[in-house]
Amino acid sequence: MRITRSYIVAMVVFGVAAFLPLILSKYYLHIAILVLLWAFLAVAWNILGGYGGQHSLGNGLFMGIGAYGAAYLVLTWNISPWLSMGIFFVVAGVVGAFVGYLTFRYGLKGAYFALVTIALTEAAVYVTANWTALGANNGLSLPIATSNNFAMLQFTSETGYFYVILVLALLIVLFTIWLASRRFGYRLVSVRENEDAAEALGVGTMSTKMWAIVLSAALTAVGGVFYVVLFSYVNPRSVFGEAVSVQILLYAIVGGLGTVWGPVVGAAILVPIAEIVRGSSLGQQFQGAYLLTYGVILVLTMLFMPNGIVGLAKSIRRRLGRGTSENPPAGVGPKQLKAESPEQDGVAP
């Protein structure tokens, strides 16, 4: 029943959002698209990072595979980005499997996994920067859309892009709800909470983590394909740069790890903040202003709100006694439980 309710909530929320193009100006609609794109990427990251507890600092790698791949196929063979979504879903999944094999095989978790993913993504910067077919340092530019062409995922107005990413984001949210309710979702959470105990209880922790990274990587590449059609441009740093990978996980962490809505809420709050900062006089003077803001937000979140916004809302609701007896949401781990104790000053809003 709870699952059905979650599906309905998701469809209602996205259904309401579908009216946004009617009321938003072009500029704000563009921000709404960015919110949905980053939400999509953060939800994909959350499968491995939030539910599985393996924080990848290199999801830009998978995003870049989708972005570069789609741009290259459009430019050389005029292959539709829709098809690229399928192709690079598979390619990034295979690369994800390689990364997972490389790291999980030796039980490299936590810090090691983070280091390996960040190093691989940085390596991708130098590979693409030296790859002439991919435009080397200049990257690849797609022609600007002159007419609406749904088959080639080209639109002259923001509205077209908005509906595409809205549907993609809805699908990934529904998929996460489904996944979290399946046996696989519970296995994944058990790996996060206590890998040894999970293994002892017969959970194949290796295969669970492998599937999680494959799914996370494959879906991230789909977001990357949309990224490149939206901006018509990709270069090494714009996808493989540290800032991108950090942004992806920032939205998930600030929103609430291992929850369906956390990454969406995080993106919905933080992406507009970045745009406001960028538009401010400080942001005009120096480009890194929004990253500075994000750095501050990340530090403050870890210090005072380690469960993110959704985690905080849940614990407040529970303390007000309106919490139901439903299973603790997947995001409630030891650290979250600790933060819910009243004497922890970290929960004070």
Binding site: L102, R105, Y126, N130, A243, L291, V299
Partner: protein
Amino acid sequence: MTFSRDVILQAIASGVMVGAIFALISVGLTLIWGVMKIINFAQGEFLMIGLYLTYFLVTRANINPYVSMLITTPALFIIGIAIFRITIRPILKDAPMNQIMLTLGLSLMLQNLALMFFKADVLRIQTPGQTVFLHFGPVVLSLPEVIAFFGSIIATLALYFYLQRTDMGRSVRAASQSPTAATLMGIDVRFTYLFAFGVGSATLGVASALLLPTYYTSPTVGLFLGLIMFVVVVLGGMGNFLGAFIGGMIIGLTENLGAAILPGSLSRVLTFGVFILVLLFKPQGVLSRRRS
């Protein structure tokens, strides 16, 4: 492009020189990990602070870069413990990933603060030694390179013996092996953590004074050098001093040999390639081994 013997010899010599400094910049990270199991993602940015500090001491106050060490080292010690005290200590008992994320946030902040104050310019210093070259057969090395090599080795060894032979060093190692047992032996673990974090960041003060005459500083310098630190530390085994030294040498040699035979910035790819190969075939290099 010639692959002559001399070019290779030169690359090996330069690689060894820079390898020592890679080792020095990495020991702080490996020390902090060894003691409190925190990866400080802002370590590269701490080094950036040291490099800027050195730059301004040299250019504005006209201090010899190697003498500036006497100021940058204590300065980074204080910056390190201040940052530790304010941000990391309150969440020492939280999940390890939370600590990583916090230091990642710090790195993002420091990087962009530097961008705000110092702009994206790449800054270098002029020192008299830069024009002095030492000839060893076919190999030519600049004086700052050689000083950086010996300075790094001396600094790394000094830290090693400090940890091995002094009471403070012993309490640091005791706290890293078992915080509980260390507490029972009367060691103030909280203070020891603070101290170790300070030392881990002070090593970067020494390193920046040695590094700047042969290198540069910019807001993103910590990004690349930070990655070098991670690779070195993972290669050598996290928390392992000797490992950091070997890792530094491997990366120094790879970078320089790569630059000698590969065009453009492809040598960087080679560096990460070596990293992946080691992960694939020599995983024991990446498995954490406690210092004995």
